[in-house]
């Protein structure tokens, strides 16, 4: 099976170990992973900020890079949502781009979803002897409807002490440009989230999106809170 990895721009520039971990996990299960170096971003930052022309420009490039992929796997619920739900809408309904985008959407999967539903893998053989909690990223949960797959994968990690935090499905307050446009509200929400993480006793918080994690990590580092963030791919690659 051949899979094109879309690492996302944030992972590429800030958190490359998420990308290398995703490759490690996928290759362990016999997947041939391809990384097309022409890839950049899915266009989400512009799309979410109301800059549709700019989003379309970047989206068109994305389409060109991935149009021939058999499967596209993305280690992000949010970017996966962009490709599946919003990319087709950037183009006029009957245009060839819209058709291509719709077809591509059907072949695009978030990492945990791909492992569970396509590869039928729920145990990657990872081992992590720590207290861990999971934060549901909004788009993965509510746009793609994925709740259980990441949890199944986490629970199968050896020696892990997995604990649910209170209100795990509540937004962490990141929200793209919302995090700077309404900085005060965004931080207030992150504070609630961090409190919930601490209250359940976790030393690590796992999520499927580096955007949520960098927001939470940014707040925790500033306040010297000894909880670390870890992306699901990184956790699953600990074998």
């Amino acid at each position: 099976m051949k899979v094109s990895l879309f690492v996302t721009c944030l992972v590429d520039q800030f958190f490359p170990s998420v990308g290398t971990s995703a490759i490690r996990v996928l290759e362990k299960f016999g997947v041939h992973v391809d990384f097309d170096p022409r890839q950049t971003c899915c266009g989400q930052p512009a799309s979410n900020s109301g800059y549709s022309d700019e989003a379309r420009q970047v989206g068109a490039h994305y389409l060109e890079v991935f149009q021939d992929s058999e499967y596209v796997v993305v280690p992000s619920g949010s970017c996966c949502t962009m490709v599946r739900r919003y990319l087709p809408e950037l183009f006029t309904e009957e245009s060839p781009e819209a058709r291509k985008a719709r077809e591509l959407a059907a072949r695009t999967f978030e990492l945990s979803e791909f492992l569970i539903s396509v590869l039928k893998v729920s145990d990657t053989g990872a081992r992590f002897p720590e207290i861990v909690t999971y934060h549901d990223s909004c788009h993965l949960l509510r746009e793609l409807g994925i709740y259980e797959p990441p949890r199944r994968l986490i629970r199968s990690v050896r020696d892990i002490d997995f604990r649910e935090m209170a209100n795990s499905t509540r937004c962490c307050g990141f929200g793209g440009t919302f995090s700077v446009k309404f900085e005060d509200v965004s931080v207030a929400l992150a504070e609630d989230k961090v409190r919930a993480i601490q209250d359940c006793g976790a030393r690590f918080v796992v999520a499927t999106d580096v955007s949520c994690l960098m927001h939470l990590d940014g707040l925790m580092r500033r306040n010297h809170i000894p909880v670390k963030t870890i992306h699901l791919a990184e956790l699953l690659a600990k074998f």
């Binding site: 490359p16 990384f35 971003c41 799309s47 509540r170 929400l189 500033r222």
Partner: protein, 477 residues
């Protein structure tokens, strides 16, 4: 709608004070938590909840696509039963009608039950200017009116007030013996309101639904105050937004189930009033005169686009407010409009204009909790995105020079749509990071970086990007 001097409805000046108000934060956390809990219980009881939502969505879509027809049907039915129908294109038309009616009947004081539409058009203020006193008879509305505040929530106007604050307000303004006893607080309001009910000659209510088939106005409530407003005074005026019409009585069953469970977590409210025109011959009570004011006030503009039109599906249950993390933090007043929370974020700019409420579509993290809970399945995040695009077009189209943010996004799109340019950008960013952040992240002294850095750290750019690492795969794996 509460506009500032520049004629704009702004949220950002009000978030800080709301977040800093400890009492407000405590009250919000406390009450919203309870509401969410009962809501969840009430919904989980209904096995076919998702089916009901889909059904309601379809009924709404069907009706709005033929709104003209159903409104005419409604008018015919109401008139046939002896009621009068008034068409109000905008807020002023509706206000003029009510004010004139009150003047004609020489009414100086009237009773009113809860109506968001009356807040939207500014009815109380308009009546006040004419020296006509409005008595809000819903306990929550009564409380906020007494406090001189607008409602905080669509279904729970005084949600932000603790029992203690209400008791203080009552003893200050109404001379109640200081007491935090709920019985005593409600008894004080009841005694006072009872006198007003009995003396009132004009009663104003809103409507939750208007059934076209039968000309029935439906008013859902818990205190019996709406029932008194619509039955005791000799004249009853109903303010109805044109989107409130539903085709058949049979549809009401579905909508009632969705509304009460979503709003207060009740299986059914204490009172559901179904009113057909006024008092008929041989009837002992009910108003002699019955007016239904059908208010457009910007609504028909929303009909043009099938996506945006869904905003009019709203049955004002308030569930989206309760689940919204932003509302939970900043509360209702920060939205500066009759409609707060997610529904307010999409409705306010559409009822007024995107130029006058440009911040509303951005006051959301797009978490989607609203769309998940909405009983009529309004895709709120989707509509927010459309409005964001409209807001940017409106702002950037007018500007003499390209605004900084637009310029930044153009530059971003330019670099992101070519691998070569992307690589150059990658190098440039690393150079900037060395210059400004000493590898502590891009500590640039201007927005958006400066806003982020106020209370958070930024991650540092990785020494080598993923693509650089990938190029040396052998080293990596």
């Amino acid at each position: 709608m509460r506009k500032n001097q520049a004629g704009m409805i702004k949220i950002s000046p009000h978030t800080g004070p709301a977040l800093a108000n400890a009492t407000l934060q405590a009250n919000l956390k406390n009450t919203v938590g309870k509401v969410l809990h009962v809501h969840q219980l009430a919904v989980s009881e209904v096995a076919n909840w998702q089916e009901l939502r889909c059904h309601a969505e379809q009924v709404k879509a069907h009706t709005l696509a033929r709104l003209h027809f159903y409104l005419q049907e409604l008018e015919k039915q109401i008139k046939g039963q002896g009621g009068k129908v008034v068409w109000a294109d905008n807020a002023q038309d509706a206000l003029d009608f009510v004010v004139e009616l009150a003047h004609q009947r020489e009414i100086r004081r009237l009773v009113k039950s809860k109506s968001m539409l009356s807040e939207e058009i500014g009815l109380n203020e308009a009546l006040e200017r004419e020296r006509i006193e409005t008595v809000e008879t819903d306990l929550g509305e009564f409380i906020v009116q007494l406090a001189g505040e607008p409602p905080f929530h669509i279904t729970a106007p005084a949600l932000h007030k603790s029992r203690r604050e209400i008791a203080q307000l009552f003893s200050q303004k109404l001379g109640m013996e200081p007491s935090e006893d709920v019985q005593q607080i409600t008894a004080t309001a009841r005694t006072l309101l009872r006198e007003h009910f009995l003396a009132a000659r004009l009663g104003i209510t809103g409507a939750n639904f208007a059934v076209a088939e039968t000309g029935t106005i439906v008013v859902v409530e818990n205190e019996g105050n709406a029932r008194l407003c619509l039955s005791v005074p000799e004249t009853h005026v109903v303010l109805v937004g044109i989107e409130k019409v539903i085709p058949r009585m049979a549809d009401l069953a579905v909508f009632l189930k969705l509304l009460t469970r979503s709003a207060t977590g009740q299986r059914i409210t204490s009172y559901v009033n179904l009113i057909n025109a006024g008092r008929r011959e041989r009837e002992a009570d009910g108003p002699h005169e019955f007016y239904v004011v059908l208010v457009d006030n910007g609504r028909s503009r929303l009909l043009v686009d099938p996506v945006m039109r869904q905003t009019l599906h709203c049955i004002r249950c308030g569930a989206c407010l309760n689940v919204c993390p932003v509302y939970q933090k900043i509360g209702g007043h920060a939205y500066q409009s009759a409609y707060p929370g997610p529904i307010g974020a999409i409705l306010t700019p559409q009822l007024t204009s995107i130029e006058s409420a440009p911040e509303h579509p951005f006051a959301s993290s797009l978490c989607g909790a609203c769309a998940e809970v909405c009983p009529v399945r309004i895709p709120i995040p989707h509509i927010l995105l459309r409005l964001r695009a409209q807001a940017q077009r409106a702002k950037n189209g007018k500007a003499a020079r390209v605004p900084a943010e637009k310029w930044a996004f153009q530059l971003w799109a330019w670099s992101m749509s070519s691998p070569t340019r992307y690589s150059r950008m990658e190098a440039l960013l690393r150079f900037l990071q060395k210059l400004f952040g000493r590898d502590q992240g891009l500590r640039l002294p201007f927005p958006p970086f400066s806003q982020w850095l106020r209370r958070r750290e930024l991650p540092a750019l990785a020494p080598q990007s993923f693509r650089q690492i990938y190029r040396n795969r052998k080293v990596m794996l």
